[in-house]
């Protein structure tokens, strides 16, 4: 895969620093501030420049899990998503849309957040959607 530099926006606080992320063999090897960014003009803080290893952490989840007999057990995507779709469909029918809620993610992209609220409103039929926006 070789080495490449990718322009990203920092994922921590709301400043929105531009970052140049150096990637080698699908691993982040270095992060530096983007001098072209009007927000940070090349600067970064310790979180922005060094707190990226979580991306490669061995503890990352790599399979869906479903609770069976009290324990979370590995499942296929098909199993997990069908289980969720069936449950949510039955809650909507039996208890009404107001019986469901979503905590959205203030760390995720605008595109994810747009789809999240579209899912809440158009699919589940409710407005019980909020995030850690308030904390």
């Amino acid at each position: 895969m070789g080495k490449q530099e990718v322009k990203m926006i920092c994922s921590y606080c709301g400043t929105g620093c531009g970052l140049i992320v150096e990637v080698e063999d699908n691993k982040i090897v270095k992060v530096r501030g983007d001098k072209e960014s009007a927000v940070n003009k090349g600067q970064t803080c310790i979180k922005g420049s060094f707190a990226y290893n979580y991306v490669h952490a061995k503890e990352r989840l790599t399979t869906p899990l479903i609770r069976k007999n009290g324990e979370l057990q590995p499942a296929t995507w098909k199993e997990a998503l069908s289980f969720i779709a069936e449950k949510l469909t039955s809650f909507k029918k039996d208890f009404g849309p107001d019986s469901m809620s979503i905590f959205a993610c203030a760390r995720a992209t605008n595109e994810t957040n747009y789809v999240t609220q579209k899912f809440a409103r158009a699919v589940l039929g409710m407005n019980n959607i909020d995030g850690c926006n308030r904390t």
Partner: protein
Amino acid sequence: MFGDGAPTNRFEDFDKAEVLLLIGSNTTDAHPVVANRIKKAVKNGVKLIVIDPRKIDMTKSAEKHLQLKVGSDIALLNAMMHVIIEEGLYDKDYIARVSEGFDELKEKVSMYTPEYASEITRVAADDIREVARMYASADHGMIAYTLGITEHHFGVNNVFDIANIALLTGNIGKEGTGIMPLRGQNNVQGAGDMGCLPNQLTGGLKVVNEADRKIFEDAWGAELPAEVGHTQTAMLEKMTAGKMKALYVIGENPILADVNMHHTTQAIRNVDLLIVQDLFLHETAKIADVVLPARSWAEVDGTYTNADRRVQRTRQGIEAHPNTKGDWQILCEIATLMGYEMNYNSSEEIWNEVRSLVPHMFGGMTYERFDNEGGLNYPCPSVDHPGTFILHERFHQGIELKEKSRFVPVDFSPPAEPTDDEYPLTLTTGRRYEQYNTNSQTAYYPEKIKLKQTEETVDMHADDAASLNIEDGEYVEVASRRGKVKVKAKICKKMQKGDVFMSFHWAEVPTNSLTIDEFDPISGTAEYKACAVKISKLA
């Protein structure tokens, strides 16, 4: 009020201000690059006034530090307005043209003499006068604040009072002025702007407004609910009452992050179906019924909106593990399984749908422009529009506004849980420099990085430690009416007597088992910033 949940100006305006009030913001630790910008602006002549219960690092650059009592901001701001009105330092022409309700404000603040406010805030009356004159006399007075303002049961009133003083002094609608809420997470602004709020659709349109809903109903081919939904805190209440069947948590760890952990855990355990979509098996994921492995920041394309309304493009740099999925892909697949077909080929396709639905906000922001021009500040209605640097510029165009901004006078009320003989100390919580929230990401620093702090401490004044016979570095018990934790004591010069400080970064010391579940009635934001605790030596 003129406020619509967005910062009025840009970071660039810090350089153009004459006086900057920094209220309830530990900028150095929470927004380090903004702190650097402010410090540089100070070197170039901006006068910085820090209003904070702690002697935080920013005070080193400040002309003046008002070390007020935790949660007494309204008393202070009202007293400043009292001085500004009494001494005629407000912008009479401006408020006549753009505002209404001045007389009510004047009456409300009349009782808040600096002497009276001094009793509540512990700030000297003459310091209140001096700072009021500095801010009101400046041609360009700016205010930045963070969670020290909002994380109170009167957080919305705090925000109203900041808006009151800015409006009173003509500090809305031109460069080097305005109000900047510094957002704690990379996309708090964007999540709200996209409609992840119980009362708001995409682009700030309103759930209760039929015409607004219709835009989305037509585009989505679905009827939308007209009633405002529950805030996160109200949802937790419904869970406690057994009235919530399902909770879907995306990229969040509420058990560790929310106030009164014991209560939060019980509430969440009460739902029949808990879905957690995240990177790690954190505390909330561990009690889930279904856990979905999502993709991280470096593995996705898209845009974020920062704390100055700037939408910026981030790009995928890493191929994710093949058995993970991106957040929106997962939601699309579930929707489709539920009989509502949702498919997108790229984040750009989603963004273009947003642009088409609320063109007055984002219409002119294409991915191509982000690539060529960098970030763009909304509103940006057309592709030849440069983006909006300053909101409410009409306030300074010398015209009488048809729709005026109303002052919202507010009264001081103390934090919900006062200290008493049994719980004599005020615990205020916040963030530290190297860690981020529940530390599920910042736990992975490379070994070569020598961290200043690797475990939680309870930061306290030397006199409080001495009276309890506690030494620096000693493990102690901190207890509130809701829980207790064992934690290392740190004698800290930032603290004033009677206050102690902790963060909530380490699961080993779950600080939010102490915090109180009192919420602002309008925003639902919890009072992380104040509760009563006691500290005792370990046996």
